[in-house]
């Protein structure tokens, strides 16, 4: 494959363009197939898959805030087996470039999940979700610990060989760049930043938290400045490509992430109100080229 001008390489894998759908909002991609030409995208990052199917959280799952969206979906997903047998083939047959997002509650589960993924050569890239704030276990307490990140990423690289491995990080820590460094050290091919920011909402009238688990994950335009500073800091700390995500709602927003040091971007919440955005960004970049980063070393 010759690299096009807007192509982006993440480890061993080259994507035609640097505009991806973020994990979660677009499900397995297929649900949006009537509205988005998935084959035009650099990649679709799937909803995070776990070894077993997960029903997700009970109670209310969505709430709008000023400029943002709180969600408490809680990693509802069909589980690895159904994903691999039912969803994956349609995506691959439909010529959709995929990054499969995975997460696990513990080491043994992670190991098994990786084996299943590794057995499918058509999966060329994996994003390890080390950062979901909406689950009791397997989210933050792994993702906030550089030692465990290293452990998980190293094992993933060992098992997945020449597939690309991205580590998706949480912003809910003092220093996200330290986490990125741990992932890079363990052999990650790229860093995805950021997952949602921990927040909550109260129902003023009833006086109760909106969500059963109380806290939820904040996404959307409100968090853009938080995502941008994460990308900036990480890009000044590691040398592997960074995939920027958080609040991107316009071509201009996308540009900011490349300026801050991202090599690719993901769109999440914005597709809910503007599903045409990813394709518009791709066109804009095809036209004017991918925005150059601000001189990386002077930050």
């Amino acid at each position: 494959m010759t690299e096009r001008s807007s192509a982006v390489r993440i480890g061993p894998v080259v994507f035609d363009n640097p505009v991806f759908l973020a994990s979660g909002p677009a499900g397995y991609g297929l649900e949006y197939a009537d509205l988005i030409d998935l084959t035009r995208l650099g990649a679709v990052v799937t909803k995070t898959i776990t070894l077993q199917p997960r029903p997700g959280n009970t109670g209310r799952r969505l709430w709008e805030t000023r400029g943002g969206l709180l969600n408490s979906v809680g990693l509802e997903n069909v589980g690895a087996e159904i994903f691999l047998t039912e969803k994956l083939p349609s995506l691959i047959d439909g010529d959709v470039r995929l990054i499969v997002s995975i997460a696990a509650e513990g080491w043994e589960e992670f190991r098994q999940l990786l084996e299943m993924v590794a057995a499918r050569p058509e999966i060329e890239a994996v994003e390890i979700n080390l950062s979901c704030p909406n689950v009791e276990r397997g989210g933050m307490e792994i993702g906030a610990d550089p030692g465990r990140i290293e452990h998980y990423v190293k094992h993933a690289k060992d098992v997945l060989g020449e597939r690309a491995v991205l580590a998706k990080l949480t912003p809910n820590v003092r220093d996200v760049a330290r986490l990125a460094l741990a992932a890079e050290g363990a052999g990650a091919d790229g860093i995805t930043a950021i997952n949602t920011v921990v927040g909550m909402e109260m129902d003023a009238e009833s006086g109760r938290p909106i969500f059963e688990m109380v806290r939820a994950g904040l996404s959307g335009p409100a968090i853009l400045p938080i995502a941008l500073v994460a990308v900036w800091k990480i890009s000044r700390t590691v040398d592997i490509p960074i995939v920027g995500v958080g609040g991107i709602s316009s071509i201009e927003d996308a540009t900011k992430f490349f300026r801050a040091g991202a090599s690719a971007i993901q769109i999440g919440t914005a597709i809910f109100y503007d599903h045409g955005l990813p394709e518009r960004i791709i066109e804009a970049f095809e036209h004017s080229g991918i925005p150059k980063p601000f001189e990386k070393k002077d930050g």
């Binding site: 649900e31 009537d34 059963e212």
Partner: protein
């Protein structure tokens, strides 16, 4: 009823007719290529490009003709207020038709609709589209609201075989809630008992299930939930539903909006 292809459309507002002090009917120009739809399906409307509010808002299709697409809009917050203030000539960004299930034409030819508030919308659509077919079902509407000025009386005139109204304050029709009215009419034997279709506040539907559900051969209900994607992707609009012994989370937007009311795990559905 299987889902049909959905699309993204810019539609023009043709008319905005006030119905009650807090609601109106928005008649939109049905755009080229907008697929046919069924009662219980909906569209999702983007209300502003200022991103305030951020999300689209779901609205039931109240009518769909060759030329028009109509919505019944009640103002309850900032998004609906924006929608209700659209003027003729304005253009709206909508996706639709959404919803993987809908209210089927009643097999027995007779059906009872129970509607609360804007839950009337899909039933107007059903009445109008089924009436234009060959067979004309016998439709008994039971329709309730808090008070007379929240009943969309203009809308129901002439659409149904029989219409029974209920208001909590007694300002129109039966004084009390629509579930009790249903019980009363059932007791008098004035309603057919094969199909019950409902749409309205969660409390109303739950009470229907408990108090009169067993009297009908079938009870289908169109549910509401806060939505983000509207297409089954984000898993934000789920409702717990029994599949035999197992409780599973179904997406109102794509597995619904129409569910077997008895299968909904009402006790587990907290919001």
């Amino acid at each position: 009823m299987s889902a049909r292809a959905k699309g993204s459309f810019l539609v023009s507002v043709l008319r905005n007719d006030p119905l009650t002090p807090s609601s109106s009917i928005l008649v939109l120009d049905r755009p080229e290529g907008f697929p046919d739809a069924q009662p219980g399906q909906f569209i999702s409307v983007r209300l502003t490009d200022t991103l305030e509010p951020l999300l689209r808002r779901p609205y039931s299709i109240m009518d769909l003709t060759a030329d028009t697409l109509s919505l019944l809009v009640k103002v309850i917050g900032r998004g609906s207020a924006l929608l209700a203030s659209q003027k003729p000539g304005a253009s709206l960004d909508v996706i639709g038709p959404l919803g993987g299930t809908s209210f089927p034409y009643p097999a027995s030819g007779k059906v009872v609709f129970v509607a609360g508030g804007t839950g009337l919308a899909p039933f107007i659509f059903a009445a109008r589209s089924w009436r234009s077919g060959d067979a004309r079902p016998e439709i008994h509407l039971l329709y309730g609201a808090e008070a007379k000025d929240e009943l969309f009386l203009e809308l129901i005139a002439g659409e149904f075989t029989g219409a029974h109204l209920a208001t909590i304050d007694g300002s129109e029709g039966y004084c009390g809630d629509v579930v009790r009215l249903c019980e009363k009419l059932l007791a008098k034997g004035e309603l057919p008992v094969d199909h019950l279709y409902s749409c309205g506040p969660r409390g109303m539907v739950r009470a229907l299930v408990r108090q009169v559900g067993s009297r009908f051969a079938e009870h289908l209900t169109s549910l509401e939930a806060i939505m983000a994607c509207g297409v089954g992707a984000c898993r934000g609009c789920t409702v717990p539903v029994w599949e035999g012994e197992r409780m599973v989370n179904k997406a109102v937007c794509s597995d619904g909006t129409v569910f077997a009311a008895n299968a909904v795990a009402w006790e587990e559905w907290k919001e």
